[in-house]
């Protein structure tokens, strides 16, 4: 009896040994590949220009990668495409989610079904269909660089649907749409003005988390970009991985760092946002 009473108390303070074992196993599985990648990226030798000696470990692989115009170019292209994707996704989904909530609630199942479809359609299938439609005439957009980037952005916006729509819709559920809209309209605002000056600012937190998630997905995307033949980061890193030894390790670490930065931004925004909206109280 006494054992039964004291056991939970002791467990609360130190944690059960089983929990520690599982936790440590899990953490090592997650951490070891990261350490191995860092270690691998430092294996490249740096040749001292004066003595001609080879020094290991060194940051030579990072130097090579960051001096490689194709690597930096791919990174910048991916970043640019990610920003355009986020802008298009927001401009498309915020008014749509707003309109569904305010005016056509009966359309919700249709819109939700479409925004969830990317979970069922793998990227490789989506790009298969896109290439079959947009490569041959009459809609041969994929013949030009601009057209290819446009179709790529379109595909990425579709990939962002599930995350972005949910983020926007959750954000909309925390504010009193009808009152805000009517207040703005009674002051003479038209629809574009209501969306731009009232709805967007109120959704800032929700939109930012959706945006950063999209950024993380687009920056590393490989499948769609590689089949469309665009020179973004994912395909170039893959090419490096097939031809070079240490540079791809450095490239992976840089890519992890970008993803991490984006995701931590989401967490921090999420926290700041929670603190701000809670006192106001949900309806």
């Amino acid at each position: 009896m006494t054992a039964a009473v004291t056991a939970p108390r002791r467990r609360r303070r130190w944690g059960s040994p089983w929990a520690w074992l599982i936790f440590l196993l899990g953490v090592s599985y997650f951490v070891i590949p990261l350490i191995a990648t860092i270690e691998f990226s430092l294996r490249a030798a740096y040749k001292d220009p004066v003595t001609g000696e080879f020094i290991r470990p060194s940051l030579a692989a990072y130097e090579l990668v960051l001096k490689d115009p194709k690597f930096v170019g791919g990174l910048l292209t991916s970043f640019r495409i990610a920003l355009i994707t986020i802008a298009v996704s927001l401009l498309l989904l915020v008014p749509t989610a707003y309109w569904v909530r305010l005016k056509v609630p009966r359309a919700r199942p249709v819109v939700e079904l479409i925004t969830l479809m990317p979970f069922v359609i793998p990227p490789v299938v989506l790009v298969f269909g896109l290439i079959r439609i947009y490569a041959p005439p009459p809609l041969a957009f994929l013949n030009s660089t601009f057209g290819t980037e446009a179709v790529l952005v379109g595909a990425y916006v579709v990939l962002s649907f599930p995350y972005m729509y949910r983020a926007v819709d959750t954000g909309l559920s925390t504010i009193d749409l009808r009152t805000l809209t009517e207040a703005a309209q009674s002051l003479g605002a038209g629809w574009p003005r209501v969306l731009w000056s009232v709805i967007f600012p109120n959704l800032r937190g929700a939109l930012l988390s959706g945006a950063f998630l999209t950024l993380a997905i687009v920056m590393g995307e490989y499948t769609i970009a590689s089949f469309m033949g665009t020179k973004t980061f994912g395909p170039y890193l893959s090419l490096l991985g097939q031809n070079k030894a240490y540079e791809p390790a450095a490239g992976s670490i840089i890519s992890f760092a970008i993803t991490w930065a984006a995701m931590f931004a989401i967490v921090i925004i999420g926290r700041a946002n929670r603190g701000r909206t809670q006192p106001a109280g949900a309806p």
């Binding site: 467990r11 944690g15 269909g129």
Partner: protein, 299 residues
């Protein structure tokens, strides 16, 4: 199509029938965009899968799925997805139980959950490369095993470029996804249930075996199915890892996009449809199981 059906029902329900079709017009940009970049491409594949190369209607493409090479691809995909889903499901559940109920210091738990949010989106080229650097031919662990313990990983028969190897890599995004979905479910287990069980003399093990586990079961099964679909659709990781030496469905479809490797366009479409079908069934079962589990966990 949807707009039309709304107009026909609307007058009976809405006081201002004329405004309804106008309101649906507000969805036009979204619907057009979805049509251009999602619905039409998929419709093209659906229609193509029922046509011969000259455009005659046929079911031949689907019977072509019985080709041994394609059956092998589906079989490989199912094996890899199943191993990584079951492994990720069990491992993720244990991890979630450990951090939520194991009494670990709070910062560790917050840290792991934050990390999981990031890692559940790690897929593709960098992930595959990271594992090559870890247990590939010159990977850190491979070298440590060889130099320090005198064990050759190759001699054990394990390689990262195998089905088991791919599944091991997939665990990197499967475990966190499971953890993220199951941790809140374990948190949702009411304290009163545990107290009630303890009052009647149940041990901790009995409580988990007869109360907590059955309540969590639909969530666990549902999420495992979600993991299966997650692995089934992954192309970049597998392709980077194996370069196509192990035919998986997404890799074969990828090869078909680059050139007519199946010597039959329609067969490629049918394969894509087979993949969508598998994913669709998985998601439906997931949604169904999720509804069942919400019955208990709604607070």
């Amino acid at each position: 199509m949807t707009a039309g059906s709304a107009t026909s029902e609307a007058p009976g329900i809405r006081p201002a029938p004329r405004r309804v079709p106008l309101a649906w017009l507000g969805l036009l940009p979204f619907l057009l965009f979805s049509a251009g970049f999602l619905l039409l491409p998929i419709a093209f594949l659906v229609i193509g899968s029922f046509q011969t190369s000259t455009g005659e209607p046929t079911l031949e493409n689907y019977s072509g799925l019985g080709d041994p090479y394609i059956v092998a691809a589906f079989w490989n995909s199912v094996t890899v997805s199943l191993i990584s889903a079951v492994g990720g499901g069990i491992g993720g559940f244990l991890l979630a139980a450990a951090v939520v109920r194991g009494g670990l210091p709070r910062p560790l738990r917050t840290g792991l959950l934050t990390f999981s949010g990031v890692a559940s989106n790690f897929a593709g080229v960098p992930l595959a490369l990271a594992f090559v650097f870890t247990i590939g031919n010159n990977g850190l662990i491979t070298l440590i095993l060889k130099d320090v313990f005198g064990v050759s990983l190759k001699a054990t028969g394990f390689t990262i470029y195998s089905q088991l190897g791919i599944a091991l890599v997939y665990l990197y995004f499967q475990l966190p996804l499971m953890l993220l979905i199951v941790a809140p479910a374990i948190e949702g287990l009411r304290r009163e249930w545990r107290e009630a069980a303890e009052n009647m003399g149940a041990t901790g093990r009995q409580y988990w075996r007869h109360i907590a586990f059955p309540i969590l079961l639909p969530t666990l099964l549902g999420t495992t199915i979600l993991l299966f679909g997650n692995a089934f659709g992954a192309q970049a990781t597998a392709f980077q890892l194996t370069g196509g030496t192990i035919p998986l469905v997404p890799v074969v479809i990828g090869a078909q996009i680059r050139g007519d490797v199946l010597r039959n366009q329609g067969l490629g479409y049918a394969m894509a449809m087979g993949m969508v079908l598998v994913m669709g069934v998985m998601i439906l079962v997931y949604v169904w199981l999720r509804r069942r589990s919400e019955r208990w966990l709604r607070s």
